[in-house]
């Protein structure tokens, strides 16, 4: 176990190094090919465009670390966005209160996932596939698919569209979330217990880790973060509609896996996720600025993911081959 962990750690390091190099190459390439790509304005736009998916990916990291998955985050973003609009426009709440209530709903929705997964011990994939449809369905039912919330005051839109001290306002929320999740995963016993659960839930249980409570915690956190992302999304677009955040769960999972977190749990890091989010966001923006068709972004994200994963397992495979080469000689010597 101990040596295993050490081995994984070095793989992790290498993976993140590769990803960092890829990110740097992406940047240099698009800066050379694209028009106005490396400008300060565009850097801010990249940040603005990746905040919501970045937040979801951050919350997804501990979930995947425990060996789970949360497919409902995108749908919950949609549900929270329209509930936020409802609280504000129809219930007449002031915006801060509406935001607080929305975050409360996010926590409740995350709690629903959590209780089904942690206490009923249902598989996360199935549970969140269910809530994926449930939350989106609720959002569509509440608005009948057509009701759109708009005309938010400028003071609120500031959060999604303006800069504060030279950086996009929502980036500050994102940075706070990064610090929170990094400390949680890398500097607390919670983080250790997430990994332990990911390696072996039974083992973790025998080691005295309150597995149910820890797992519940990651899904509730994911719910809360989805609600925060919903508020930022609404501020960025200036509208809330039931189709907000469609497909975001897959972008978030892609970013997490690209960042080196094992989909089987136990291995991964928050800074890896951050690099994953950045690599995808830069790719999307770069393609637009190099005047390439937008659908190439999806294609190249796929290529990036496969190459990065292959890249990080290649050294292991080579050493494995070496080991195999040396075994026949040993085998001959034994008889």
């Amino acid at each position: 176990m101990n040596t295993d962990q050490h081995g994984y750690k070095s793989i992790l390091l290498r993976h993140e190094t590769i990803l960092f190099v890829v990110l740097a190459v992406e940047w240099i390439f698009f800066d050379a090919v694209g028009h106005n790509f490396g400008t300060y304005d565009n850097t801010c736009d990249i940040l603005r465009h990746s905040c919501e998916i970045g937040l979801l990916a951050l919350a997804m990291t501990p979930v995947i670390l425990t060996g789970g998955i949360d497919l409902s985050v995108g749908s919950l973003l949609g549900l929270c966005a329209i509930l936020f609009g409802k609280f504000w426009r129809d219930a007449g709440m002031p915006l801060p209160l509406a935001a607080a209530c929305t975050i409360g709903v996010g926590a409740l929705a995350g709690g629903l996932n959590a209780s089904l997964i942690a206490w009923l011990r249902l598989p996360p994939l199935i549970v969140t596939l269910g809530t994926f449809s449930l939350f989106r369905g609720l959002a569509e039912a509440i608005t009948h698919g057509v009701d759109t919330f708009t005309d938010f005051p400028a003071s609120f839109l500031f959060l999604g569209q303006e800069r504060w001290l030279g950086i996009p306002a929502q980036a500050l929320v994102f940075i706070a979330a990064v610090i929170f999740f990094w400390l949680l995963v890398h500097r607390t016993t919670f983080g250790r217990s997430f990994r332990a659960i990911g390696f072996s839930p039974e083992g973790a249980r025998y080691a005295g880790i309150p597995v149910g409570r820890r797992m519940a915690m990651v899904y509730v956190l994911a719910g809360i973060v989805s609600a925060i992302a919903a508020i930022i999304y609404t501020a960025r677009l200036g509208q809330a509609k039931a189709d907000a955040g469609t497909g975001y769960e897959l972008f978030a999972i892609t970013a997490v896996v690209l960042g080196g977190t094992s989909i089987f749990g136990g291995v991964g890091s928050v800074h890896g996720t951050l690099l994953g989010v950045a690599a995808i966001a830069v790719l999307h923006s770069g393609i637009a600025h190099a005047l390439l068709p937008g659908e190439m972004a999806g294609m190249l994200t796929g290529v990036l993911l496969i190459l990065a994963l292959a890249g990080s397992t290649l050294p292991k495979m080579i050493s494995g081959l070496r080991a195999r080469k040396s075994t026949p000689r040993l085998a001959k010597q034994i008889p």
Partner: protein, 339 residues
């Protein structure tokens, strides 16, 4: 050793992705800016990229661009997230295009991005679906409710010989646009064709099956019925199927709003006499001409007419550039259109 391996790998990754992009770049066609004459860059946003309706709009846009010699960027979302439209527009803002022509899926949402573009000195026109009026200079209006209503009624009267009974299939009884179109159908009937009589208005809830069953019921209830008129695109093929199955092909005429591709089969079989819409390629063509003129300062608020290349003069009502009367697709011309 391990580090060099890593480095090699990274370079390989970069090279592969680099090749990928540079090999694709020429097909984009618009990458190299000419330093000599200042070339206008027009960014053209369809609601969605794969939609045949917008593909044919884009064809017209491309044709106009070839004539004008501008640089045209056409990009639209391929996934359903509404934020993608804004991201595309915001990328165009930092890219520094001269003018944006947008079809707006989410009126309020995209207006925030379009306003930002205008604040940076980028001109904005909308086409097909308008943004909020303060977020653009002009809207290229493909058809007014009056134009649609009158065209439907005129075609109905022409087919019936200006007398007899007809019935209307509508999407729903409450939808605002449908109600408005029906209002103008009735206005035209009362004013120009008093001998024609609308005997029933049935809602098909925008379902082809329901349109078919409603039509079947109408055919047996009103044996003297001469024509079915649908104000929803799903009504036309639904009604056509009912007429065909009732063996009344040709005796009961069928027209309505619709896309050529959905109705080609019935038009060729003689079940449907015509579908009414506008020429989408002309819409794209006019939009690009308007965008170009706006960027060059040749088109200004307050203008009353606008000349767009080979299509000639168009009327401007307020800040709406009018594409003009709707177009009827029938047996003679429907095969020339693919959307």
């Amino acid at each position: 050793m391990r580090k060099t391996l890593l480095l090699l790998l990274a370079v390989a990754v970069a090279a592969i992705s680099g090749c990928n992009q540079s090999s694709k770049a020429p097909s984009g066609g618009n990458v190299t800016p000419t330093p000599a004459a200042r070339q206008i860059t027009i960014a053209f946003l369809p609601k969605s990229k794969g939609n045949a309706y917008f593909v044919s709009c884009a064809k017209g846009a491309q044709k106009a661009d070839d004539e004008l010699g501008d640089r045209l960027i056409i990009d639209g979302p391929t996934d359903p997230d509404p934020a993608r439209h804004n991201e595309i527009v915001e990328n165009w803002i930092t890219l520094g295009v001269d003018v944006i022509a947008a079809s707006c899926e989410n009126k309020e949402g995209i207006s925030t991005a379009l306003r930002k573009a205008e604040a940076k000195g980028i001109k904005v026109v909308t086409y097909d679906a308008d943004a909020l009026p303060d977020a653009r200079s002009f809207f290229v209006n493909q058809a007014t409710p009056q134009g649609i209503g009158f065209a439907l009624m005129d075609e109905a009267a022409r087919l019936c010989g200006t007398n007899g009974e007809f019935a209307v299939i509508t999407g729903s009884l409450t939808a605002e646009n449908q109600t408005e179109w029906r209002k103008f159908v009735e206005e035209r009937r009362a004013a120009a064709y008093p001998d024609m009589k609308c005997v029933a208005v049935e809602a098909c809830d925008d379902l082809k099956d329901k349109a078919q069953s409603e039509t079947t019921a109408l055919l047996s209830t009103y044996p003297d019925l001469k024509l079915i008129l649908s104000t929803t695109s799903l009504g036309v093929p639904g009604a056509a199927e009912a007429i065909k199955q009732a063996g009344k092909t040709g005796t009961v005429k069928n027209i309505g709003l619709g896309l050529p591709n959905e109705n080609k089969r019935y038009v060729h079989d003689g079940v449907t006499q015509g579908v009414i819409l506008w020429k989408t390629a002309d819409l794209g063509y006019l939009t690009v001409y308007a965008a170009d003129a706006l960027a060059k300062g040749a088109l200004k608020p307050g203008d009353k007419t606008f000349k767009a290349g080979s299509l000639g003069e168009f009327e401007i009502q307020g800040d709406n550039i009018m594409l003009g009367k709707p177009f009827t697709f029938n047996q003679d011309n429907i095969d020339q259109f693919d959307f």
